[in-house]
């Protein structure tokens, strides 16, 4: 009875705290500017199935892709057992689903199989990160916290899954001893390999292991759930909507700034459509801070799980430049979290004197070739290029702070219609003295 109350309280506070933190993140994302990403729902759902659910882009790196599939599928399917754990915890029952009879051990054996896949995946991942030290996990932006965060996630998952095996093994031994309420529900395939490890223990020790593992598993899951909003692991939730709200245009298309078109038209002496209005508030150019990005840009920041596939293919990063598309996303999230905390503490109108430029330097922004290797690679369809372009727009149009050579091409284009300093009158010189061999 007491344990039921304890369980119910724990569950309620875990769900409550999680909801509280998710709401904060949602509020932070909504600080972004509006952008319409609700068009074409059929195409968007297909994308969710392909990219998010079936993880098509993960398989670009086959080893990581397949192991991630193990962990992903495993974690979801093992949580079928979580439903039973919840029922047991709240109703004070033991293995509430054992009424399923001979199917029960099959289902439990299946979840054990998936738990094993999760463990295999996580152990290999830990090995790749900490022993092999794959370069993408040791780039400069992978400071102690991002590395620790990844290890906490992987170790927690191993512990949670291992507890399932000991839980089931001790339970099974107690069943065979017809101890207490441990009724015969059958043996479970994988945990039977753990049976010899604890077979000689007295029954009360086994009850202790069983209960300890049960509580470890459920409390562990609750703690893990509440760790996720503070961690890059939040991608397990937000990557699905992030893929749904993907940019559907060709990768080469850069978002338009309709807010300035009217001004340009009147500068050029062109007629202006009556529905074209200049919203003076929207007439800030580009992005100085997170609020100047779209909400999708901010969702991108929360979707990043720091895998570094973008940085791995970035031509600037490959050749030793400071730009790392992953760092840009991590910076955006860090900055957004600070802005969010400021709102919590000092009200929604508070602004500190910091901006995205305290995190991302002009040197990084100007190294981008806009080649879209990063966006092509990202398994959750983050758009790193659009953030870089928005920040460049701010530098150029608000601060006139483009590199000197680019200012030179701007004035050439303005004066003579080409990035080079040649007269527009000479644009046809290439056609002089052109001959073809006719047969």
């Amino acid at each position: 009875m007491i344990s039921t109350i304890v369980f119910a309280l724990l569950l309620a506070s875990a769900i409550g705290l999680f909801t509280y933190n998710v709401r904060k993140i949602t509020r932070n994302i909504k600080l972004g500017k509006d952008i319409d990403r609700k068009d074409n729902p059929v195409k968007r759902w297909l994308l969710v199935f392909k990219v998010a659910i079936f993880q098509s882009k993960m398989l670009g790196l086959p080893i990581a892709g397949i192991l991630h599939l193990f962990v992903y599928a495993g974690f979801i399917l093992v949580n079928i057992e979580m439903i039973e754990v919840m029922v047991d915890g709240l109703a004070g029952t033991h293995r509430a689903f054992s009424f399923l009879g001979k199917f029960y051990p099959i289902i439990i054996s299946a979840t054990e199989f998936f738990a094993l896949l999760v463990i295999i995946g996580c152990v290999v991942f830990l090995f790749r990160r900490n022993v092999i030290r794959l370069p993408r996990f040791w780039k400069p932006e992978m400071t102690s916290w991002p590395r620790l965060d990844a290890n906490i996630i992987l170790i927690t998952e191993v512990v949670l899954m291992t507890s399932v095996f000991f839980l089931n093994a001790s339970d099974y031994i107690l069943q065979t001893r017809e101890y207490g309420h441990y009724e015969q529900v059958g043996s479970f395939f994988l945990s039977s390999f753990f049976v010899p490890l604890i077979q000689n223990l007295p029954s009360d020790s086994l009850v202790f292991i069983d209960r300890a593992c049960w509580w470890l598993h459920i409390v562990g899951i609750m703690l893990f759930l509440n760790y996720i909003p503070y961690s890059k692991h939040f991608h397990v939730f937000v990557s699905f909507p992030n893929v749904y709200f993907s940019k559907l245009d060709p990768a080469g298309k850069i978002a338009n700034m309709p807010s300035i078109t009217r001004e340009i038209k009147s500068m050029l002496g062109k007629p202006v459509e009556p529905e074209e209005t200049t919203d003076m508030a929207a007439l800030s150019f580009g992005a100085k801070d997170v609020k100047d990005l779209t909400w999708k840009g901010l969702m991108d920041a929360y979707s990043c799980t720091e895998c570094g596939r973008c940085t791995r293919v970035c031509p600037a990063n490959i050749t030793g430049k400071k730009l790392s598309p992953r760092k840009v996303m991590m910076d955006a999230r860090d900055r957004l979290e600070i802005v969010g905390k400021n709102i919590d503490k000092k009200g929604k109108d508070f602004t500190d004197d910091k901006s995205l430029f305290d995190f991302i330097s002009a040197e990084e922004l100007w190294a981008c070739t806009t080649c879209n290797a990063c966006t092509n690679e990202c398994p959750v369809n983050i758009d790193q290029v659009s953030l870089i372009i928005e920040m460049r727009r701010y530098l150029v149009m608000e601060k006139a702070a483009a590199p000197g050579e680019l200012n030179a091409i701007f004035s050439n284009i303005e004066n003579n219609g080409a990035p080079w300093q040649f007269s527009q009158q000479d644009r046809l010189l290439w056609a002089n003295e052109l001959y073809i061999n006719e047969k």
């Binding site: 245009d249 060709p250 990768a251 080469g252 298309k253 850069i254 338009n256 309709p258 300035i260 078109t261 340009i264 038209k265 150019f285 580009g286 293919v313 031509p315 600037a316 490959i318 050749t319 030793g320 430049k321 400071k322 730009l323 100007w366 190294a367 981008c368 070739t369 806009t370 080649c371 879209n372 290797a373 092509n376 701010y394 530098l395 150029v396 149009m397 483009a402 590199p403 680019l406 091409i409 701007f410 284009i413 303005e414 219609g417 080409a418 990035p419 080079w420 527009q424 009158q425 000479d426 644009r427 046809l428 290439w430 056609a431 052109l434 001959y435 073809i436 061999n437 006719e438 047969k439």
Partner: protein, 265 residues
């Protein structure tokens, strides 16, 4: 019996004044007009158009920067000024179809100009050549490159930006020769390093130039010819071969130039 004939490149203002509307507008681009190396590509492509008796014209001195580089370098004001002016001229001549050799022009015309009311059918020259080959209008039965190995460098703005990987490869497939892919190709291709404004500025501090990294991919294939389809890639790959002292062994051509050579135009 071959005979040299002078090509008079049709200029839109003249053609239009005669009451004619050419089927295609050839957008030469600033590189085609002013970059000495890329002028050769435009000249080669114009020879092909002449050979195929295509009804086309160029804007000549009425052409201006597409604005692509201004937009990517963050100067949206300048971009929109270029865009609105260009669209006015194109509409004045009632242009419907635009061919260009520049994937950056292709991308901005095709994907970005529609936001400003500029709706044209935009065709990259590799797509045009592919179509001509598929329709049987362009046949290459030359053995000029038969013993040569080619490798194709995907321009980012044709490949990843617009998903066009096949057209250039199909054109190359129609030229008797061997095509060998680089280890990074198609959607995985490495950028030449010139897009997004990089062409016109010093690279940021690093260990290496991007074009050198890409040139190493080329050298690995052992190809005799590196084929490109973009003015920026052309400049970068030429520089790469020069710095690697390979310009005598490995040649760098645009797809249009290979067709020009094999057809002996």
């Amino acid at each position: 019996m071959t005979e040299k004939r002078k090509i008079e490149v049709p200029v839109m203002a003249d053609v239009f004044a005669k009451g004619q509307k050419p089927e295609y507008l050839l957008w030469v681009g600033s590189a085609g007009a002013f970059d000495d190396r890329y002028k050769k590509v435009i000249r080669a492509f114009v020879k092909i158009l002449t050979h195929l008796k295509v009804d086309y014209a160029v804007l000549g001195t009425e052409e201006s920067s597409s604005g692509d580089v201004a937009r990517r370098a963050g100067n949206e004001m300048l971009y929109q000024m270029q865009t609105l002016t260009n669209i006015d001229i194109l509409k004045m001549y009632e242009v419907k179809k635009i061919i260009t050799c520049d994937p950056h022009v292709y991308n901005t015309f095709k994907n970005e100009y529609p936001d400003f009311g500029g709706n044209f059918e935009v065709i990259h020259h590799t797509q045009f050549l592919q179509k001509m080959i598929a329709e049987g209008k362009l046949k290459i039965d030359s053995n000029l490159l038969k013993d040569k190995t080619l490798t194709y460098h995907d321009p980012c703005y044709l490949g990843r930006a617009n998903g066009e990987y096949n057209a250039p490869r199909e054109v190359l497939g129609a030229i008797p020769s061997t095509l060998k892919e680089m280890k990074r190709n198609k959607s995985q291709a490495l950028c030449c390093g010139a897009g997004g404004g990089q062409m016109f500025k010093e690279a940021e501090k690093g260990d290496k130039e991007v074009f050198m990294e890409r040139t190493e991919d080329v050298l690995e294939t052992g190809a005799d010819i590196i084929v490109t389809a973009c003015p920026y890639c052309m400049v970068m790959m030429t520089d790469g071969l020069k710095y690697k002292n390979k310009e005598d062994q490995i040649k760098n051509y645009d797809i249009a130039e290979l067709i020009e050579q094999t057809l002996e135009l």
